[in-house]
Symmetry: C2
Subunit: 403 residues, 2 copies
């Protein structure tokens, strides 16, 4: 067998190996989704527990912490199973850095829970800590999506990431709207902030839809609890159109319930997406193995026809076989090229987030802001100027010389 | 030691492993540059040998084939040394596909040489075969540049790739101008084609300069053989400004010599660039190892201070150490983010070529053209419309629905 053909086979094996690594990462992403959900619930329950000075949700909190710890153990098991042999992992430096952040934050959870149970932490601080941890977990999913080299899996990961991120905005809206209704009033600034949460949520779900096929889109539409969504929309409208700035404090529970019904529906659907992703990985791996077997069979046949001429070059194979080898080489190049084009499209969807992250980083460095402060500054500018967050971020980057 | 910190170390190890792979690839790129040069000479000599019906350059051809075979053996040795263990190679599928193409083309060389020596192949066909092989070798360098994850090395590879590609256009111009002068005449279409080779060459050298530091740029400027470059410029001008379309056939040898002097100077400079690249890889690897040792030392110190408390989480480390770990995690994330920003800039320079490749692929598929025909069609449109090739390619891609 000549070495050109060996490299053709090696190229296929690289593809299979990348797919296998993607399958592992996809498993991890599925479990991370479950942990995000458990933490979102724990965040909400802690919030009510602290806001009510321990009067409400004490039992629910204990139960939720136990649930959360169980999922956390699963994530840790997955991470142990993740191949940390540096040479085998694609995009390892960034993925592992994100994981290091998450593990470090998880290690701080017992201390936070202790402070929550003794009510020695303000509700906002506890909420902010949970939110940072969830953001860290979503960053792991983001890196997984960004490192995928198979366009189909990349599309599925981009869709799943945006679904998860949209669900996180939905969770933040639940807390935000709940607090607004409970307080019985809302001012213009809070209205705008609320509006921003709605828009960010819808933008994420739009990307999710764009990267899903028709079947998934219909299933998603069908899975929504219609009544709860109607209640939600009505209560959003009341809060935003209310000229006096007063809200009915008694409606707070209704709001919370409607949001929770919707978020739980999202969670079920997310499980489905994660299951689809695992299936897709299995299919792609099986397909790649089948392709490799086919290719190997052709190469073996070529070798047999070349006879036992030792290591002679395929010039001996004659013009017909010569062409079929060249065809195979060219076909493989074309296929990889078209995969790379498709991948580029999928990655473009991740770029908006990268632009915002870079603008945030620039502001943090040049104006000595924390990450939260930098984000708020960007968001405030977007609100004041009625522009999209990503456009403000682009302007900030374009102005970097002035900062 | 807790697993969050293990992942921090694993992230560093990933970086080192990628750098080590890049160093191997860079070695390969250096040898490929030498093979490209040998093939360029062989192409030129074969061309004269065939055009003169064997009257000229017979001995030179034999000598050059021997030289070329020696470099070819070096490339094959390098490729054998390249780790084909699929799991270890980044961007392996595309890199290996390109290598498979090159090896396949190299295996066809003995047959081509046989046909050249017996003068049983037209000069144009031989030239086209060499040119395809050289393009395949440059594609390997391109994939290497495109897969680099270290911004400094990526910049050096982008510069080197464009230098090599510029040198290849210079070689094509030598043949083109030589043939024009030898024929004693030139028409408008050939003038435009010549102009295109000059522009493509200059665009490549401009990217090379953009991605090089001041020292390299000055060294490049100083390395040019002034007299030969002046002769070249004068003869370009004569050919392009000549209203009658007649050229002095006796000037053909002068043209060839001036071009060769310049190309040989480019070759020496290219060797320097390749040596710089190897040095840079060594430096980056040494630096990464030093960083890892520093990080490990801090982690060990943290562990000692935490005492022999077994596997307890760093909550036990106290708020001061807690902050220093978080700082380390955040610093690493920020550093990777900024590396990724720099990388994006370097890759942008490769995108023009990708756009052209994609447009070519689209034309090949939609209009059943060969690669050469597709490229000629794009180039012809660019000439007719007085636009840049990449802009025409973009238009073609934007119109893909109509094709």
């Amino acid at each position: 067998m000549n070495s050109g053909l060996n490299f053709l086979v090696a190229a296929r094996q690289c593809e299979i190996s990348e797919l296998e690594h993607l399958a592992l990462t996809s498993e991890l992403v599925g479990v991370i989704g479950r942990l995000v959900h458990a933490l979102q619930r724990e965040r909400g329950i802690s919030n009510v527990y602290l806001a009510s000075r321990g009067a409400r949700f004490g039992d629910a909190l204990q139960q939720q912490v136990a649930d959360c710890e169980a999922v956390q153990a699963q994530v840790l098991t997955r991470l142990d199973a993740l191949d940390t042999d540096a040479r085998r992992v694609r995009n390892g430096a960034r993925l592992f850095s994100r994981i290091a952040f998450v593990l470090h934050a998880l290690e701080g959870l017992p201390a936070l829970r202790q402070r929550v149970s003794t009510q020695s932490v303000p509700a906002e601080e506890a909420t902010a800590t949970y939110t940072r941890l969830i953001a860290g977990l979503l960053n792991v999913v983001f890196e997984a999506a960004d490192s995928a080299t198979d366009p189909k899996i990349s599309r599925a990961l981009v869709a799943l990431f945006h679904f998860l991120q949209g669900k996180e905005y939905a969770g933040q809206e639940r807390a935000f709207g709940g607090a607004a209704y409970a307080s019985g009033q809302i001012d213009a600034a809070h209205r705008q902030q609320w509006q921003h949460l709605i828009e960010a949520q819808e933008a994420c779900l739009q990307v999710f839809r764009d990267f899903s096929d028709e079947a998934v889109r219909s299933a998603w539409q069908a899975s929504l609890p219609v009544e709860a969504v109607n209640t939600l929309e009505r209560m959003r409208r009341v809060a935003s159109a209310n000229a006096h700035g007063t809200l009915d404090p008694n409606a707070s529970a209704t709001w919370y319930e409607a949001c929770t019904l919707r978020i739980d529906a999202m969670k079920s659907f997310e499980d489905q997406l994660a299951a689809n992703l695992r299936l897709l990985c299995d299919e792609r791996i099986a397909q790649a193995h089948a392709d490799l077997r086919d290719q190997q069979a052709i190469l073996d046949a070529l070798q047999r026809q070349a006879g036992d001429a030792g290591n002679e070059p395929p010039a001996l194979l004659g013009p017909h076989l010569e062409r079929s080898i060249l065809g195979m080489v060219q076909e493989q190049s074309r296929r990889l090229q078209s995969m790379s084009d498709e991948l580029e499209t999928a990655r473009a969807a991740l770029n908006e987030r990268k632009v915002i992250e870079r603008a945030k980083g620039l502001l943090m460095a040049s104006r000595k802001l924390s990450e939260d402060e930098a984000y708020k500054m960007l968001r405030q500018t977007a609100m004041n100027q009625g522009r999209r967050l990503v456009d403000v971020a682009k302007t900030v980057l374009a102005m970097s010389d002035y900062l």
